[in-house]
């Protein structure tokens, strides 16, 4: 299939209060175009799912948003709540995180030799201000921040249901727990937008149900917008407010789960067209 045959849709249509704007973004690796003039927007508070066949550019999109890759063209803008819009194009990953976007990884990337507690705390305390000298001298501002971070860390471990695993090494946790721990670490940085890269990959059905509930809780109770990449259609269809379908780096369909399921271009992309 050549690129000219790919139908294009406007995946930004109908978004009135965007939290994230991806505008005409193109990312190439040498001669390979990974993302091709992609435009999409996410409404504040919604769970937006990005689906598509392997190699459609989903993870590349995440890496562009979080500053790991730098796209050749286009712009990516974060609209923080009550703040000025911020371009993410030249920001380093840590800066993007500070602006309010946290992420998890397709192939879980936790700090394996640290405990679950420490993993979450690293995320939480990345916002603290006390420097190394305050820590060495044990100054009051450092102690105060430590107490606050400890409380927040425990809160988050409770939130994802890992309280009783707090002191276990990350590497010793079960797969579903690892996924939840990674979400807790990401939430520790108090994001406005949470990027989840295949959070249910490799989990068993009961873990999958727990994750679905957790993601819904993140969206409803914390009010965090969620951008989700997932292959598990049942999970996507039950969670997503809206779905964008990518193929060959472009959006080929966008809409509610019901609309997308009925879309001919989507069926063609997944099953192949005659």
């Amino acid at each position: 299939m050549t690129e000219t045959q790919v139908p294009r849709v406007d995946a930004a249509a109908g978004v009135t209060d965007p939290v994230l704007d991806v505008d005409h973004v193109t990312l190439r690796f040498g001669g390979v175009t990974s993302i091709n003039d992609l435009t999409l927007a996410q409404q504040r508070g919604e769970i937006l799912a990005v689906i598509g066949p392997n190699g459609a550019g989903k993870t590349s999109l995440f890496n562009c948003i979080t500053g790991v890759y730098r796209p050749q063209a286009g712009s990516i803008t974060l609209h923080p709540e009550g703040g000025k819009p911020r371009s993410l194009l030249r920001a380093k990953p840590s800066k993007v995180n500070r602006l309010g976007i946290a992420r998890t990884f397709q192939n879980i990337r936790l700090f394996n030799a640290l405990s679950a507690y420490e993993n979450v705390k690293i995320g939480v305390e990345s916002r603290d201000r006390a420097g190394p000298v305050s820590a060495m001298l044990g100054l009051p501002n450092y102690r105060r921040e430590e107490r606050a971070s400890d409380a927040r860390t425990r809160e988050l471990l409770d939130f994802v249901g890992l309280r009783d695993k707090a002191n276990e090494l990350a590497a010793s946790l079960s797969y579903g727990s690892l996924r939840r721990l990674e979400i807790a670490r990401a939430l520790g940085t108090s994001p406005q937008l949470l990027l989840l890269d295949e959070p249910a990959a490799g989990t068993n059905p009961s873990e999958k149900n727990e994750l679905t509930a957790l993601i819904r809780k993140v969206s409803v109770e914390m009010g965090v917008s969620v951008l989700l990449i997932e292959h598990d259609m049942r999970l996507v269809m039950s969670l997503a407010t809206r779905i964008v379908v990518l193929n060959f780096g472009s959006a080929i369909a966008a809409g509610t789960p019901a609309e997308v399921q009925a879309d001919e271009a989507v069926i063609a992309a997944y099953l192949g067209s005659a």
Binding site: T66, S94, N97, R109, F111, N112, K121, A130, P132, A135
Partner: protein
């Protein structure tokens, strides 16, 4: 098996059978290992022996294998064999004992009073015992042990905590030393104002830290091997500059003696004890500061970067800033040691700041246990004490100039049996254990993929 088998041979001494058994033992794995261990001892004896001369080319070999000397090395070979042969058999049993003892032991040591009284006893010993030593040992304590423990503690921040391989660490020591020489007017280049050596501490630390930041900011974007090579180059540059510049006195070293510390009317001169107490004070401060740092946000951020830089960045940790910070901390510790060294010794030349010393400090850290504060201290103290001891006691078996042969050998043995070091840090030991089990990489040095 060998001991039992030997007994059995003696017991049922029917000749042909016994001979076959003896033959089997003499050609068995254990025996072969014994032969190679003994040969290893002999090779070491030869390598570390005196050189031959034109008139008597074999005298080197002859003297190397002379009576008291060679037995030392054979004993060494025997110890290696015992280690190789029995560590596998004794190890599990020892581990069982250790596990049984560990819980009650920890209950005792974890108790605050016990721990603090242990620190108090240690400190009292460090204050009192040097008074009883002879001058030669006092000098060893300050020049070889104290300063190097301080250097190793600084490098431990860089390599143990942040996981950055710095092969030019001695350069910051040189910066501290030359800063002192410059500001006390001891270099051919004269400073705008002269200060007393004590005031050189802030200056030396500041300049070393600046050097760390200047080197770190552009180069810490590199990973693993590349960073190591750049730091190697930096160390060489500082050495070459010091060696070739007229302003530094070139290879002749400083122009006139760097003044010793002055405290009111009291001049420290060449006495060792005041320097030792100064060093001890600094070491205590550094140990307290660094252990707090390790368990703070900064220490965890370093661990995070070391384990997975991509994930650390994604969790809001600006990796570059933290790496530069680690470099600056390490460099300032090194600079501090440099000031002390310059003022204590009075005279120095660039030969003190060679690459070899950088490697030696690295070895001290690896030997003691990367990332472990107590490991670094004990490792550095032991490795620095031994050559000094052999020099002072005039041993004919071990000659101090051969230290690198032994150190190299020790490192190989360590890497096989105890890669985590003498007293490993808990985090590091876990990482190594996981790397052996195939989970993740042990080190940021191994440079995990830069992007997912």
């Amino acid at each position: 098996m060998s001991a039992d088998a030997l007994g059995a041979v003696g017991g049922r001494a029917r000749l042909p059978g016994g001979l076959t058994r003896a033959y089997a033992i003499a050609t068995g794995t254990d025996a072969k290992r014994l032969y190679s261990s003994l040969v290893l001892g002999l090779v070491l004896a030869l390598m570390t022996g005196p050189a031959g001369s034109v008139t008597a080319p074999t005298s080197g070999i002859h003297h190397a294998l002379l009576a008291p000397r060679v037995f030392g090395f054979l004993a060494f070979g025997l110890v290696v064999w015992l280690l190789l042969t029995f560590s596998g058999r004794v190890g599990p049993r020892l581990r069982g004992v250790r596990q049984r003892v560990a819980a009650p032991a920890r209950a005792v040591t974890a108790h605050r009073t016990v721990r603090w009284s242990w620190y108090a006893v240690l400190l009292a010993a460090l204050i009192l015992v040097p008074r009883l030593l002879t001058g030669a040992y006092q000098q060893l304590l300050v020049d070889q042990i104290g300063i190097y423990v301080l250097l190793a503690l600084g490098l431990n921040i860089v390599i143990g905590f942040a996981g950055l391989l710095d092969l030019g660490y001695i350069a910051f020591f040189a910066v501290g030393a030359y800063t002192t020489a410059y500001f006390t007017g001891s270099l051919p280049a004269k400073p705008p104002f002269e200060v007393t050596p004590f005031l050189c501490f802030p200056l030396g630390v500041l300049f070393a830290m600046l050097a760390g930041v200047i080197l770190g900011a552009p180069t810490l974007r590199l990973r693993g091997d590349y960073l190591a090579i750049v730091t190697l180059g930096f160390g060489e540059i500082i050495y070459d500059v010091a060696n070739n510049l007229k302003q530094t006195g070139g290879p002749q070293g400083v122009a006139k003696t760097v003044p010793h510390f002055v405290f009111g009317d009291y001049h420290w001169k060449l006495a060792n004890l005041p320097y030792w107490y100064l060093l001890l004070g600094i070491l205590v401060a550094v140990v307290i500061g660094v252990s707090r740092l390790e368990n703070s946000r900064t220490g965890r951020a370093w661990t995070a970067i070391r384990e997975d830089e991509v994930a650390a960045e994604a969790s809001g940790i600006p990796a570059l800033r933290y790496k530069v910070m680690a470099f600056a901390f390490g460099a300032s510790t090194s600079g501090f040691a440099g000031v002390l060294f310059a003022s204590k010794n009075g005279f120095f030349d660039p030969g003190v700041f060679t690459e070899q010393i950088s490697i030696l400090i690295l070895v001290l850290v690896i030997f003691g246990g990367m990332g472990s504060i107590w490991g670094t201290i004990v490792g550095a103290a032991v490795l620095q004490f031994l050559p000094g001891y052999f020099r002072i006691s005039g041993s004919s078996v071990f000659q101090p100039q051969d230290i690198y042969i032994y150190v190299g050998f020790l490192l190989i043995i360590m890497m096989i049996f105890r890669p985590q070091g003498l007293i490993p840090s808990r985090r590091r030991a876990r990482e190594i254990g996981m790397a052996e089990a195939g989970i993740g990489s042990a080190d940021a040095l191994a440079a995990p993929g830069s992007a997912p």
